[in-house]
């Protein structure tokens, strides 16, 4: 098989595996705070192999997430394209950071992500611009924290996977 195609398939396979992991449901609260392995994996691939991650990846997986999460079509592609662009634009800098610094940046990214998802784009509540409340904000903070904590182990796991299977 073509080496490039094989690499694309292996990256896609890892992302699909993370989507499956994210789909596993626990309790309602746990589902809201558990780390989003898919997003972490997506960020990893954009930083580790920016030349392999293009906008089609972001768009296709974004649509898939929109269908799974029930969000308005275009929300997740928008988020993934933004993440993809930022990751690829600043990956030189990001790679050289310590894990603590990387985790801090990811904490902010995931916090912004959660509040972006809460925007009332359907105008369900005419009195408010966002559907987030205090409880949602608290859960978002925990979600962002858990994601930033999950970054380091996931980084190592994906690095092993990349070195073992993906040949450049």
């Amino acid at each position: 098989m073509n080496k490039g195609l094989k690499n694309y398939l292996l990256i896609s396979l890892s992302l699909i595996f993370f989507i499956l992991l994210d789909l596993i449901s626990f309790s309602l609260t746990a589902d809201q705070i558990k780390p989003s392995f898919f997003l972490l994996g997506f960020i990893y691939w954009n930083i580790a192999m920016p030349e392999k991650m293009n906008l089609y990846f972001a768009f296709t997986f974004g649509l898939l997430m929109d269908f799974m999460q029930g969000t308005v079509l275009g929300v997740y592609p928008l988020i993934l394209i933004l993440i993809s662009y930022l990751s690829q634009r600043f990956f030189y800098q990001f790679r050289t950071f310590k894990f603590v610094q990387q985790a801090l940046i990811l904490f902010l990214i995931f916090l912004i992500f959660k509040f972006f998802i809460a925007l009332d784009i359907n105008n369900a509540d005419p009195n408010s611009f966002s559907l987030a409340d205090k409880n949602y904000a608290l859960l978002s903070l925990i979600f962002a924290l858990l994601n930033s904590l999950a970054w380091a182990p996931l980084f190592y796991v994906l690095r092993i996977y990349r070195r073992k299977w993906i040949k450049t």
């Binding site: 989507i19 789909l23 999460q69 079509l73 928008l78 809460a118 509540d125 070195r163």
Partner: protein
């Protein structure tokens, strides 16, 4: 020194500084495209036409996700002793007897309340009017809760806006239909509106959702309305989407705030379909 000792060679054979990021023009074009898609979907709800079919394609993924939990359940079932099962069976038999008794009481009650036609209608169960759907996935987004059902519908009678019921009452309505999948908008969804009638004061209202694990609210209720805390809310049948007399929720708080021209009435919805695997779609 062999090439194996050279760590950098393991990471990549390309010079990383040769990698160009996504060009700003392509990024902006993609952004504009996504925003257009978003606006079109908000304005015309186009995605509702394809979501059901998308879930048909994603059905294998939902099934794969269930495998670990099914395996764990099976393992724990095997571990259960025969004695425990017999005990369970006995308790179920007892419950069954109790339910039969309650059922007979209900029948008696319906006869007495024929004028109101309340319980009578709910007891007239037309089995053909219901389709059984198996839960495939419940999205983890609390502000846009979507339930995916796998419905065996050989006669294709499944349609958008048909109500979905749990064993307790109404939990939502069909939002999108595929070949065998259906996406359900849960009554807690911020876009969900259900016409309801209260059980004791017989007042009408519209129940609006605000997201999972949040209370719903009766909207635009005048301050003179005499709703009572603790009373149940049933579907009123107005609007012809939801059938009448199905339980939807319970009034938990009534507040008369001076800064609001309407009453603030908080409603607790029925328990979420977290641990329930099967639901009924009302097709008539």
């Amino acid at each position: 020194m062999s090439s194996e000792d050279h760590k950098v060679s393991k990471i990549t054979s390309e010079a990383i500084f040769a990698v160009r990021p996504i060009s700003s023009i392509r990024f902006l074009m993609a952004l504009v495209f996504c925003l257009s898609l978003l606006l079109i979907d908000i304005r015309f709800n186009l995605s509702n036409e394809i979501r059901g079919y998308a879930h048909d394609v994603l059905l294998p993924l939902y099934k794969i996700v269930e495998v670990p939990s099914q395996f764990i359940n099976k393992a724990s079932e095997i571990r259960q002793s025969n004695q425990q099962l017999k005990k369970n069976l006995l308790s179920y038999k007892e419950d069954n007897e109790k339910l039969k008794l309650i059922n007979s009481q209900l029948k008696d009650l319906t006869k007495r309340n024929q004028e109101l036609n309340l319980v009578w209608n709910s007891a007239q169960i037309d089995k053909e009017a219901y389709l059984l759907g198996q839960k495939m996935n419940l999205s983890s987004n609390p502000l846009k809760p979507a339930l995916i059902l796998d419905v065996n519908d050989p006669d294709s009678i499944l349609e958008i806006n048909q109500p979905v019921l749990s064993k307790e009452g109404i939990i939502g309505k069909v939002k999108s239909v595929g070949l065998r999948s259906a996406e359900v908008m849960i009554s807690q969804d911020p876009q969900s509106l259900i016409p309801v009638i209260s059980s004791t004061t017989r007042l009408h209202g519209i129940l609006k959702g605000y997201g999972l694990q949040r209370k719903g609210q009766l909207i635009n209720v005048k301050k003179t309305a005499a709703f009572k805390e603790g009373e149940d809310l049933y579907s009123s049948g107005l609007g012809k989407v939801f059938p009448p007399n199905y339980l939807v929720g319970r009034v938990v708080l009534i507040e008369d705030r001076p800064d609001n021209e309407f009453l603030n009435i908080d409603v607790e919805f029925l328990d979420l379909p977290e641990d329930q695997d099967y639901f009924l779609v009302f097709t008539k």
